[in-house]
């Protein structure tokens, strides 16, 4: 019993996360507070974007986590389909709303940033559009989970949707790039240009990214525990009804 799969046992998972969760939570709060305060109060303005450059500390980490959350769900779905570990399916379920909120933050901060920079809240920029589509995928995934009563059926169907959705999300990303290549020629209007980010912006950004990653882990652990308990509760209630 010394493999990773040991933690796929619900009881073992709950026991382990009992110890891990407080540490992750505290670390994520520390990193987030430190990174955001550093970024907000102690970094200079960009010569072109002015103080709006400070939005980068929220926008880039949330956008990263929006994609990584989906990747994590994809991996968890695959583990469920192949190895039938219930915790894996429940972790995917637990991660979806976190990913949804991350996508929403990325969209909203992007739109708010776009208003002074592009003169409009919304432009059908390929990146923004892709995130809007990703948002729809999250909505569909969550809706399918909540619509199906039987837990195993729901886990199977959402896993299949996650696999198919991933392929179509990639296709959409490519399609959207193709579709809008002509409209925003030349001028790079995207926030995400880490390559050009100077060191003054880079270090607080790294800390913020770490904070978002830790926050995501903490939330997923917490929510997975809740899902495990809810699942056990439903099983107990069903057992009672069976007599």
């Amino acid at each position: 019993m010394n493999s990773v799969w040991e933690y796929a046992n619900p009881k073992k998972f709950v026991q382990t996360t009992d110890k891990v969760l407080p540490w992750v939570s505290v670390l994520s709060v520390v990193a987030l507070v430190a990174g955001l305060i550093w970024g907000f109060f102690f970094t200079p303005d960009d010569y072109r974007q002015g103080s709006t450059v400070k939005i980068i500390y929220l926008h880039v980490p949330s956008a990263l986590m929006a994609i990584n959350a989906w990747l994590m769900m994809l991996v968890a779905s695959l583990i469920w389909l192949v190895r039938r570990h219930h915790v894996s399916a429940l972790a995917a379920r637990a991660a979806a709303p976190v990913g949804l909120v991350m996508t929403l933050i990325a969209l909203l901060t992007g739109a708010i940033w776009g208003q002074p920079m592009w003169g409009t809240y919304w432009a059908w920029d390929p990146r923004l559009t892709s995130f809007l589509i990703l948002f729809l995928f999250y909505l569909g995934y969550i809706a399918l989970w909540s619509a199906i009563e039987n837990d195993d059926t729901a886990a199977d169907l959402t896993s299949v949707l996650c696999l198919v959705g991933s392929v179509f999300a990639l296709l959409s990303r490519y399609a959207v790039n193709f579709w809008n290549q002509g409209l925003h020629q030349g001028a790079s209007l995207s926030l995400d240009k880490e390559e050009h980010v100077a060191d003054v912006f880079y270090y607080p950004l790294l800390i913020c990214i770490a904070g978002f990653v830790l926050l995501f882990i903490a939330l997923v652990l917490l929510r997975t525990r809740t899902e495990i308990r809810a699942r056990r509760m439903r099983a107990l209630l069903a057992r009672e009804r069976m007599g």
Partner: protein, 52 residues
């Protein structure tokens, strides 16, 4: 204390406000649901043990 945000003060502050509110909301909902489910499960478990 407040840094000089210039003409973009509103933009930056609203972005931070929206994001922090959303994160806090998500954390709060997750915590409330975690406590709620934990309590319900305990109730169901004690009941199940009583009836065998």
């Amino acid at each position: 204390m407040m840094p000089e945000l210039g003409k973009y003060a509103e933009t930056v502050l609203s972005a931070y406000a929206v994001s922090i509110l959303l994160i806090l909301g998500l954390v709060l909902i997750s915590l409330i649901r975690a406590r709620h489910i934990k309590r319900r499960l305990q109730e169901v478990e004690t009941k199940a043990k009583k009836h065998g």
